[in-house]
């Protein structure tokens, strides 16, 4: 068995099996978040794509790649969104270097 199955994306609702009430609440929230609002659907799809990459979720990457195309984005825009997520993720790791500096300072004479 592979750890990730492509078809599982279409079986997401199986998660409802043991607590359908919680899944229904999640779906209502999830879908409401994606409606056009102060941000456009296109902007939200690009945020979704960026977060999907930061989380490295293959299901979300697949779903939001399609959402971005269907919202009219092109690969140049999608790649910029992915770089934003990656840069923030890289920066977040890098700034923890100061934690190491502090530790080293504390331990050093």
């Amino acid at each position: 068995m592979a750890y990730y199955e492509e078809d599982d994306l279409q079986r997401f609702s199986d998660i409802a099996k043991h607590r359908p009430d919680l899944f229904e609440k999640f779906m209502a929230w999830y879908q409401a978040c994606q409606e056009e609002g102060a941000l456009s659907r296109r902007e939200k799809a690009l945020i979704g794509l960026a977060v999907a990459h930061a989380l490295q979720c293959p299901y979300c990457i697949d779903a939001f790649s399609q959402s971005c195309l269907e919202a009219g984005s092109n690969m140049e825009q999608m790649t910029e969104a992915i770089h934003m997520a990656s840069a923030i993720r890289g920066g977040a790791a890098l700034i923890h270097g100061l934690q190491a500096h502090h530790s080293v300072e504390k331990l050093s004479m």
């Binding site: 609702s13 999830y30 456009s40 659907r41 269907e70 919202a71 140049e76």
Partner: protein
């Protein structure tokens, strides 16, 4: 995201079969699909084309030989005159390559019809088409041209290497002749098809993108952009199967069924005629050889607008392509 998903299976003979029936879906929504009127006669003059686009539901190419004869073109002209059909929408293939094309345009214009030509832009550079632009302008032909994206890579991926650059030259020539310019009375509309197995974006937003990008990058103007959903027929269906996207794409169409689109479907005000003169409810049914209902006259020579105005529409699983999301027609999205 639906919690109940249909099971989709490939069907025989190049068609899709799903366990979700289009007619049953209409019935479940209390909808009866019948024509309302006949405003448009869409004339497919044949499968000959100078291009071989990857999404083409006609399977058109330079090697196809099926084209409308002068005799059939005259039967079309006679029907337009006799029935006072207000709009003639000429498609193909590349319709300009048909020897009877100009005769068809001249005579249907003389009969008082608006004439729309599905013009692929690059045919302008074929031998014998040197004066095509002047012909279009002199007959106030309305032009609808496919341009799947405002970037070269995606356009060429669908329509062939070099098509984007040729299309830009053609669009500049059309603009120089007045096409696409406000107040000129010469209509130049563009048609967007997704370059792949996904639905089109909202028409208004992608039209705004095209207008901004084509003007800023290339100084090109046009009137409107129409979004059209790729139909799972012929070459696009082959692509879906080859790429492993058939089931997912069909599921997408079925799940995105929007009952609000049905009133505006093109089959409700259009009749399609093929290169042999046979009649269909739309160009997609034509490519599937799904003729008009058997109780109706089957050829353009026998066409009777009274009988066709309230006719029942022949449907198949491909019809989910026209009812998905904002809907799809030859005039673009059906609902905002």
């Amino acid at each position: 995201m639906s919690t109940v998903l249909p099971v989709i299976q490939p069907g025989p003979n190049g068609q899709l079969r799903t366990d979700v029936d289009f007619d049953e879906t209409l019935r479940a929504h209390g909808i009866k699909l019948r024509a309302a009127t006949v405003d448009i006669l869409q004339v497919n003059v044949g499968k000959l084309c100078n291009q071989a686009c990857k999404h083409c539901h006609v399977d058109a190419s330079p090697s196809r030989t099926e084209i409308m004869t002068r005799e059939t073109a005259d039967a079309v002209i006679d029907a337009v005159r006799r029935c006072r059909i207000p709009i003639v929408d000429i498609t193909g293939g590349a319709p300009e390559l048909n020897p009877s094309f100009r005769h068809l345009v001249q005579e249907t214009r003389a009969a008082g019809a608006r004439v729309i030509v599905r013009h692929n832009l690059t045919v302008m550079f074929e031998a014998g088409q040197e004066d095509l632009l002047e012909f279009f302008r002199d007959h106030a032909v309305e032009i609808a041209s496919s341009l799947p994206y405002f970037l070269e890579e995606r356009t060429d991926a669908q329509r062939g290497h070099g098509v984007f650059q040729k299309s830009l030259i053609a669009l500049r020539r059309l603009n120089a002749a007045g096409y696409g310019k406000t107040g000129s009375g010469l209509t130049l509309d563009l048609v967007y098809n997704p370059v792949g197995a996904f639905l089109p974006p909202p028409q208004a937003s992608i039209e705004a993108d095209f207008k901004r990008e084509l003007m800023s990058r290339h100084g090109i103007m046009f009137n409107h952009l129409y979004t059209i959903t790729n139909m799972p027929i012929k070459r696009f269906l082959d692509y879906l199967r080859r790429s492993g996207n058939e089931e997912r794409y069909m599921r997408k169409l079925v799940e995105a069924f929007n009952p609000a689109t049905v009133d505006g479907l093109m089959c409700r005000n259009l009749v399609s005629v093929d290169w042999t003169g046979r009649l269909y409810d739309c160009d997609f049914n034509q490519m599937l050889e799904l003729g008009v209902a058997p109780e109706l006259p089957q050829t353009i020579a026998e066409f009777d607008p009274e009988l066709f105005a309230r006719r029942r529409i022949m449907t198949g699983s491909h019809c989910f392509g026209c009812t998905a999301g904002a809907g799809s027609s030859c005039g673009g999205a059906v609902v905002a």
